[in-house]
Symmetry: D2
Subunit: 341 residues, 4 copies
């Protein structure tokens, strides 16, 4: 942490800061001669120190110089984390394609989709039994009945299941059915949920909040990791910007950036990232070209009767084309599809 | 809901849409002759219909024309909602000043603050026992011990207590101590929490999410109202924008706008809205000038040793000045401070 | 400027940086012992240095510690700048009300408006002869004919004129008619225009770009000041955010913040700030409560036939009410309306 | 245009609107029976009509249903526009790689870069002689001397030149040297500049403003097209969001989206889009995978001594790797590099 003093600060003000640091077992190292006097804080700092120091007279600003996240950083762990889900390995260089309906509606819908996406090259099935819904009057998911349908689909196809959990109290239940727990964008800073997912011994996927910075995302990952759950992957799914033509603006640059900052696998979700079915394939290809470890895509037998997010769901046929496309892009960079035996 | 057709759509495509509407018990009313063919949907529409219709061939876009929120709208209830909390009435035109520390740290800190803010003119005490914290390594609150300290402060000063609840499972516990349940910005779309707060029979305050639109805010209010809890007030606390000098950009215009769209009381929180103590008083005055039913302000005996949000907390002396200032602005518009007997 | 090194940087990398600084006539001051090695740059730094240093091996980030703007800062000039325009003084504590139509349409329209706003308490007339227009098919202003109409209005009412200039080549012409040159939001970073306005010897108003930070705003002010034009005032008019209900989000906090960082007068424009006539008065009051030196408001004899921005224009009657309201708020803080003799 | 009435509007209010439309030679078509009364406007509407109608009593909102841009839309022209610049064709499916320094500094720097990027596969040279600079104290370009250096580089290498023009009065001069006129992001809404570029008979590139919507971008294109210059290409270069880790957030989805809405070629600029050299190659690959007609990349012999934007510039070696990468991605989708003879 570095304390930048005002141009017109007094010696007394500098001394007061050094004294404050001493009281807390820290030392201050003065750099005179630069444009302004600067005090380097020597010792173990903590985030609240910034607020405290900024209130002291004579201080212009306080600049943190250590990253607030530790366990999720590349500095903590140099090699890529890989996660094993059934036969599928995530993070080893192969391209993981996860697909399925936004929401679980009926057994028929889920089974048909599961078979179709498996045939097309997907290696994991997504589907929501608990759905966050902006309005209380919209469909909110089938709950445990939905989880049971997913279980049937896994039994029928062998595809592992990823599904969202929305409340701390539901983590245990969802763990009984899911292979991967998904924390959705709206819950990225639901810290009590993060604690519970961190205590679970299940692989988890943490989606980026639509208004959260990359640093906040890694700090939320830190919640899960610090509770002992190291089987964690991240998923970029678009952020909220001034542009309203697309549902969100998919931050493709977050993919290579987070892979540089962190050892965790990073996937891309072009369905939520764009909100328009006709942009899903180009953005899936873009995510793969930018280095994503996988993509997660919404597929529905009949998008025009989907109870949720039909506008961004692909038909089976369009999904098949998308897989061919991302496969070609992956191959162009020396990678291949992860397909379970 | 209005279906806008593409300029080059065919008669067949129009017929297909009318047929789809009929299947769902709806009718389509054609407006030919405008720049494009437009189909008005007659009957009871629902949000998912938009997605469905937008996928049909020949459709350019689908425009919803009814507001998705009902119970929170002025059209539903013309007169202002007022909420009674002890001796304090919120929403009746008087200016409600809520103040207290960001986080409950010690009994001494809370009692000193409670006495000081009461003496200065506050009519309710705020203080967090459960604190959302971006990093797992920061202070996260004292939990039930914190609630007990707040209870003591109410006993000592008579000030009603507002405090945050973060998990559905905690609502019952927090209800035992609090006079008003606060749903924080990060939980504005924690729908399971909203359900529980809606089932509680306690006044509640719903803060605006830092990346949520006004419509989403009113839809979250709808969750609480539709579960039967009508004692609901709203609080604008700043939104996330590209400007980083302030912690958030306080959307002062949301205050008169939401009071026009809704019958619910609206407060302003200039502490989180700006993140800088020296901007709190000017923005508190601005919120009052714009018509806020009240303000919520962070006050701490020693902001520079606060465990949380010291940089935006006022000293007792600065808070006293702020109350004088907002009182003058309120008086200029024919209003007065709400001060409990 | 401070160079923060990576945790794992080598002594060689540190030496290379010190060498680079020496080559440029600068010195590096090492602060070992803080979490990371930190090098304070001693000597006269410049913005491009940051880019250069960040590319060197072993560097984590480079933190500028001096403000890039000088002439516009409070550190450069402690006392408030005041600007004299005819009988009106801007920046001396009095509240300046500027009003008039968005665009100059006809002499009749402008004269009627000028008389009405003068009678209601305005001390300056606004009106656009050159209009930035998102679409080439919209009204773009009357050009010099419009300037002549404004001249007539000044002759008839004595009100000084503020009007926008959009191209460097037009500055001379507009100077012949205007009392204050306005640089609009879309031109805040039209640097060649800023140069010309800086060379003019006319008071100028620089509006904040709708997507520009406060620091960028002050740097654009620096362009004008550094060319020798010190009669400069600023105007906050709303920024672009994810919220689409209002045309922009008026950043009321920018008003007290910029008055703290700079000595220049700061006004607020609630018409563009909100885009809705019914929000103009509450946000005008808010801007004044937050300390604005003045407000600029759009008024039209018949907003519903205005060629431009009718939705945010006030009728004469509503403007009269607004003046009464801001007058009361100003009085509450010991200020009064600036009314020319 | 569609007028949506308030739920509680009166017959008189509806009649008044129909009367207003008649006065303007328009007709209103009523759709009763939908949730609200809706009036379709029949006849030739114009943008200002929206403002006017929204002010009338009883109106909830007015929804435009025709796109405000015409000449730039796919509806106006179905087939892709192709632009010929020397031997290079832009928009015909081949991948155009444009590269060069951010700013022209010296003849040596430009010539070395031109030769290196040509050898690596670029088919056009970029370089700024007029540089928009946030601060007046930063490097602002060499002006005409810079243009002359670019001319020499074209003579030496045969590469056509693209360079920025910043003021309407400079268009003629820049046309004498450049093969393609570039309108930069900060000038996307400099309408007087757009007019002049539209009158020029030179290919032009219009970069997206960092805070402009796709619709505004196409409307700015409309300025240029409507003046008769049809040789226009677009370039996505990142938008401003709350994320500050990257300089901008590159909106990769804008590439396929604009190609769907418009017939104009669309390129991507990952250098400005990210601001970090190590993200340039992944985002270039992403842009190509998403369907960009080309990419524009900053390259410098020694990024660490560049006068401008060194942090986002590639070395010759890194650029060579990037070309190999985008070439492979292009090949994966059946495309090839555009390389001039």
């Amino acid at each position: 942490m570095i304390v930048v003093m005002r141009v017109d600060c007094s010696q007394q003000e500098i001394d007061a800061i050094l004294e404050r640091l001493r009281e807390r077992g820290l030392a201050g190292h003065l750099s005179p001669g630069v444009e302004r006097t600067v005090i380097g804080v020597v010792g173990h700092t903590y985030p609240e120190l910034k607020d405290m120091l900024e209130l002291l007279p004579g201080v212009e600003e306080v600049v943190p110089i250590s990253k607030p996240y530790k366990l999720s950083s590349r500095e903590f762990r140099r090699e890529n984390t890989t996660i094993q889900v059934g036969n599928v390995t995530i993070g080893n260089g192969d391209l993981v394609v996860i697909a399925g309906p936004c929401a679980v509606e009926t057994e028929e819908q889920v089974l048909a989709t599961a078979r179709a996406v498996k045939a097309a090259g997907a290696c994991m099935l997504r589907g929501g039994a608990y759905k966050p819904s902006t309005s209380p009057y919209q469909f909110r998911g089938l709950g445990e009945d939905g989880l049971k349908i997913l279980e049937t689909a896994r039994y029928e196809t062998g595809l592992p299941i990823i599904t969202e959990v929305m409340a701390p109290a539901d983590v245990e239940l969802v763990c009984r059915y899911a292979d991967v727990l998904q924390v959705g964008a709206r819950n990225m800073q639901n810290f009590m949920l993060l604690d519970e997912v961190g205590k679970a011994r299940k692989p988890a996927m943490l989606k980026r909040g639509f208004a959260n910075t990359i640093q906040e995302w890694l700090l939320s990952a830190e919640y899960i990791l610090s509770q002992g759950n190291h089987q964690l992957m991240l998923c970029e799914r678009g952020i909220r910007t001034f542009e309203t033509f697309t549902r969100n603006t998919m931050d493709v640059s977050a993919i290579p950036l987070v892979k540089r900052l962190s050892h965790l696998p990073v996937l891309g979700d072009p369905s939520h990232g764009t909100g328009k079915w006709y942009l899903v394939a180009p953005l899936a290809a873009a995510a793969v070209a930018a280095g994503a470890d996988g993509i997660m895509v919404e597929v529905h037998p009949n998008p025009d009767i989907a109870l949720k997010d039909g506008a961004q769901s692909l038909t089976f046929e369009n999904f098949q084309r998308l897989v061919a496309q991302v496969n070609a892009v992956a191959a162009a960079t020396g990678r291949k599809l992860a397909i379970p035996v």
